[in-house]
Symmetry: C2
Subunit: 175 residues, 2 copies
DNA sequence: AGACTAACTGAACAGCCGTTCAGAGCAAGA
DNA sequence: TCTTGCTCTGAACGGCTGTTCAGTTAGTCT
């Protein structure tokens, strides 16, 4: 995962992976069918874990409270897994069409949860936006962008970043 | 550019590029020093053109009007060049450290223009946010995310997307 | 007409690619 | 103690990699 995140799937050889794990290249094939499966398993497992973690979060019924919980969860979960997130967004095109479709479906399932919150918030008139789908994509892009610059030892602590981004997200859809 | 955008820098061979341009592989080296220069020139030229186009835009003095102009410019410019944008965001890690630093500097120069608008808006009290730098990065992430899904023949026309995203951007920093 | 320049071809270079496989080592179960 | 089942090594496979270069072609200037 670290190698794929750092250099990209196509630029990393099975021999590099073997060296990083301390075995010879042939031994890798006792654990994976091929290089493509390695990438797919990485992405698919990441999305499974993300969805499971969101389920475990038990979002509140109140739409605004749910949006805050989702926002903070997303930031926290993604900040803790920069490599996995990076791969999940960068290496989709290196999946075979079949594998891409499966990971894409997982990603849509995650986004659907946010869109549902937004639609409920709009219905309850505690949120306002022109287009629920675009607001959903905008928020995801906004929040995920954090992973490109956030460093645990940077200017801002994790909790400060969470607060600031929740503040921006709230305004983005404020009624 | 199309090949790099579709398959990624590392996954495209000089022979593929040669075939796509209708020459033999050796002929490419009359036009580029090596494969790395090909990528760097693509990214650097893109950033140059982006900065030049923004200069030509002549943003208004009024901060809010400038933010709207910037927002619409960014969306319009990026929507028209999906391949170049995709490469500019995905292939940075495939640049040598020297080349990366140069492209990164160009990117920062672009972002600095947005940050300046935000700071002026905050000073004039027509905008509000917790952190200018983060608001800047958030808006860039928000707007650039459009390129991942926008299609000219999709549900929404370009002008509709512009309006909706300007509406969201305005709210994001509303006083 | 002849010289010069630029672009192209086709072949070659050394080296790396993903993957396979025979054989070795070793721990667990009969 | 013997066998079974993993996991490993080390070498090999055909094929592709970026890059170079001698030789050909074609257009431009004197």
């Amino acid at each position: 995962m670290a190698l794929f995140a750092r250099h990209g799937y196509a630029a990393v050889s099975m021999r590099q992976i073997a060296a990083a794990t301390g075995v010879q290249v042939g031994a890798l094939y006792n654990h994976t069918a091929d290089k493509q499966s390695l990438l797919f398993d990485l992405l698919s497992d990441h999305m499974d874990a993300l969805l499971a973690a969101l389920e475990a979060e038990a979002l509140p019924d109140d739409p605004l409270a749910a949006l805050e919980a989702f926002t903070r969860f997303h930031l926290r979960y993604h900040a803790a897994r920069p490599d996995a997130v990076f791969i999940a967004y960068m290496e989709l095109r290196n999946l075979t069409p079949d594998n891409f479709a499966r990971v894409e479906a997982q990603r849509r399932a995650y986004e659907a949860q946010l869109e549902d919150i937004l639609r409920r918030g709009s219905k309850a008139e505690v949120m306002r936006f022109d287009d629920a789908k675009l607001a959903c994509l905008a928020i995801i892009a906004l929040l995920t962008g954090v992973t490109t610059w956030f460093r645990a030892d940077g200017r801002l602590r994790q909790s400060e970043v969470e607060d600031i981004y929740w503040s921006m997200t709230r305004r983005l859809v404020s009624a």
